[in-house]
Subunit: 463 residues, 2 copies
């Protein structure tokens, strides 16, 4: 469970390695059904399972080998304790922009995370350039390993640390842009949090992840990193954004606004989708093409970055469902939460039986916000009786803000004020693109075939 | 709030009518900016707001008139207390199939719901044929007004009543198919519940709703009803399914499997989408075209319908998020819930800090199920450390079952057994199409432009 244990093999792999009398950091020759490999047996890494071993090849690439496929394995000695990857001389090219890559953990950094020894940082520039040599051609890269967390373990407190790190690196390094490598599970929530915490950004801050581990041939890690670095180095988008695969192939990436993106698939490489709007840009072979959606421009904003990272974590989020009990909402009142976001049904409804608890929240001065669990579309609380009853009970409707974005925003707003009228005003005001005036006709369930055409059309218009 | 109050005007409309000294059931002549109308002032109905009055025209149509647009209103007398709509003689055509329409409330029945008097049912055949005359051409229709509920107020107990009603109507009326008019907010949950409760269905049971009230020109109520009745009368699909607009226009409807459909938009007419699969069929101008997705066939199934409507409502559903507290999960353990469905992040994760509570659930014999809040894609709990830890803590992964479908299924399974191994086996087994073996390439975020092509291609193949 701890980070230490992630450095070792477990389960079947551990038993198997013991039976073979092979230790981590041994040089090995492996004969498999798919060919022979020579390299160093490295620790399983944060995300390895117990059915593979990981070999670092002389090229610097790591490969996972299924135990099932191994015909023979032999050791040829152990790596010296002072072993290190040959130190790549990285020359700074003054003509190239500088990009800072901040590592927080997750699959995109998981290859880089296979430690070659305690002395070598998991996220060194050398490892990165070995793994993705294209990066050196785009920019002068600087790397910061901020933390090493699976993104399901990222917490609101981490958002604050990250926001401060970004601010200090903008001040100290003054890069063209920043890329944040992040696990994908909650990447969109971190993106939303940074969108509220960092004001007047004057360059791209790009979150990137990877849906498939770099040890798999289908990995999207390298291409996502390359495209994100392109955006950070060259794009005019001065916003918090997410840059991930646009299709399930390696054809192009999309850039999504940090407050309108959600992970909509558990495994596809194009899991991240702009919801209720059109993505900001498409990147194909290093070329960034804007879709015509308006954004804050690097060319128009200079300096004045403000970090405003106060949060009140004490906010809950519930998706309503038939059979939901009064007590499930009461829990939030009894435990003195500062606010509650409901992802209600349809236009923003819950069972009318539950409304009396909402009234009690009002009495206790706990704001209750309404979003829609449909994810697409706006709340519309004046249309039906239930909506009007909820408004009377004090519920604050949040237009087309995504439930998870509403949660993050409520934490941020309640970190600044508990005065209900002011909370309401801030929550209902568009601060960072989290509320749009209307949904474009094809902002609904955008699929690649369609996005292709739509975005290409918009690109044409833009020209 | 009660059903009684829905019979009367409230707010501004009530004050305005009082000022005009006009009572409900008065004959009125109304002069508006858009023309003059003559009819009977009927109660506002379940979903009317307080800015319109509803007039039943001599044709039987109801229209909503905005107070703002009224220039003059005059009464010409009250309707007799024994007033009734002229009884339309509906002749049964022995050549036509019979379809039973069960009303449960919601927008699709909201026009039909404007009562003409306490003696006249809100959902009479006459009203229906007046409103949608096409229905008479398709089939012999019989109507049952089961309840009159906004769907956010539909509860698990109502699913049981509905399942029994369907079963008794199949036995007594023996129709070609059944259509259930339902509010859209939780329509997909009722569809899922019926899918588990009714076994060996030998004809179509079609749920239908309407995203726009029939008093609005953009209403989808009539077309949805017509298409649903077509499916019930003629389709070979012997399953619980949902028939709603396929596009935002009135071009065609789609038929979705009851366990793989979700309301994905708060207001669009094509809000209902098959998630992670392809819809079963498309209906255009009365023609039903199957997509080639396999389904239970009317032609192969005869009789043996089984109602199995036992439920344990005591099941919770939570969507995990950063900052979620241990106590929020503990609530379910302390309040002796029978089970808990988690919509975790990504492949089925929660913050590792919360896992100890999951272990406590195991000790207390409370099954915890994992689905993905991405909605699309499968759980994959052997890929990362967190998944494996959750499995060790006893979490039961549910493949690509939708979180809300998992909730309904868990209620149903736990209504039958509390023995964990048996619960696990039933929950992980595909009983009604709720788990699919794989997701088709274009089962992700299907959009109409794309669905058009894909479905047309599949239809071609099927031929």
């Amino acid at each position: 469970m701890s980070e230490d244990s992630s450095n070792d093999y477990r389960g079947i792999a551990a038993i198997w390695l013991e039976a073979q009398e092979i230790k981590v950091w041994s040089k090995v020759n492996v004969k498999t059904k798919k060919g022979a490999f020579k390299g160093v047996l490295i620790p399983r890494g944060e995300q390895g399972d117990d059915k593979h071993i990981i070999i670092k090849l002389p090229s610097g690439y790591n490969i996972g080998i299924s135990l099932d496929s191994i015909i023979e394995i032999k050791t040829t000695g152990e790596v010296q304790s002072d072993y290190s990857i040959p130190n790549l001389k990285v020359k700074k090219d003054p003509k190239k922009p500088t990009v800072v890559l901040i590592g927080t953990g997750g699959t995109v950094a998981s290859k880089l995370d296979y430690r070659t020894g305690a002395v070598i940082p998991a996220f060194s520039l050398q490892e990165l350039y070995n793994a993705v040599p294209e990066l050196e051609k785009i920019c002068n890269l600087e790397t910061i390993q901020l933390f090493q967390k699976l993104s399901e373990n990222i917490e609101p407190a981490d958002w604050i640390i990250l926001a401060n790190e970004i601010a200090s690196c903008l001040e100290n390094v003054n890069p063209a842009g920043v890329v944040i490598a992040h696990g994908t599970d909650t990447l969109h929530l971190t993106a939303a949090a940074l969108s509220f915490m960092l004001k007047n950004i004057d360059r791209p801050i790009v979150l990137v992840g990877s849906q498939r581990s770099s040890d798999r041939p289908s990995s999207d890690a390298a291409i996502n990193l390359i495209n994100s670095v392109h955006v950070a180095a060259k794009s005019d988008i001065a916003e918090i954004c997410v840059c991930m695969h646009g299709t399930s192939g390696d054809t192009y990436n999309l850039v999504h606004r940090g407050t309108r993106v959600r992970k909509m698939h558990s495994s596809r490489r194009d899991a991240f989708r702009t919801v209720g709007d059109i993505p900001l840009a498409k990147i194909e072979k290093g070329k960034i093409k804007n879709t015509g959606i308006s954004y804050h421009k690097r060319s128009l904003r200079k300096g004045n970055l403000e970090i405003d990272a106060k949060l009140d974590e004490n906010v809950g989020l519930i998706y309503s469902y038939p059979g939901m009990k009064l007590e499930q909402i009461e829990y939030f009142l009894e435990n003195n939460y500062s606010g509650l976001v409901i992802a209600g049904s349809g236009l923003g409804h819950i069972n009318q039986k539950l409304i009396k608890t909402i009234s009690r929240a009002k009495e206790k001065n706990i704001p209750v916000f309404m979003t829609t669990q449909c994810l697409w579309g706006f709340t519309g609380m004046n249309v039906y009786e239930t909506g009007r009853m909820l408004l009377e009970a004090g519920v604050i409707p949040l237009a087309n803000m995504l439930p998870e974005v509403a949660l993050v925003k409520a934490m941020w707003v309640l970190g600044h004020t508990k005065e209900i009228p002011f909370v309401k005003e801030l929550m209902q005001k568009n601060l960072a693109g989290e509320i749009t005036e209307r949904e474009p006709f094809d902002g609904y369930l955008i699929l690649q075939g369609r996005v292709d055409k739509r975005i290409d059309r918009l690109i044409q218009k833009e020209k």
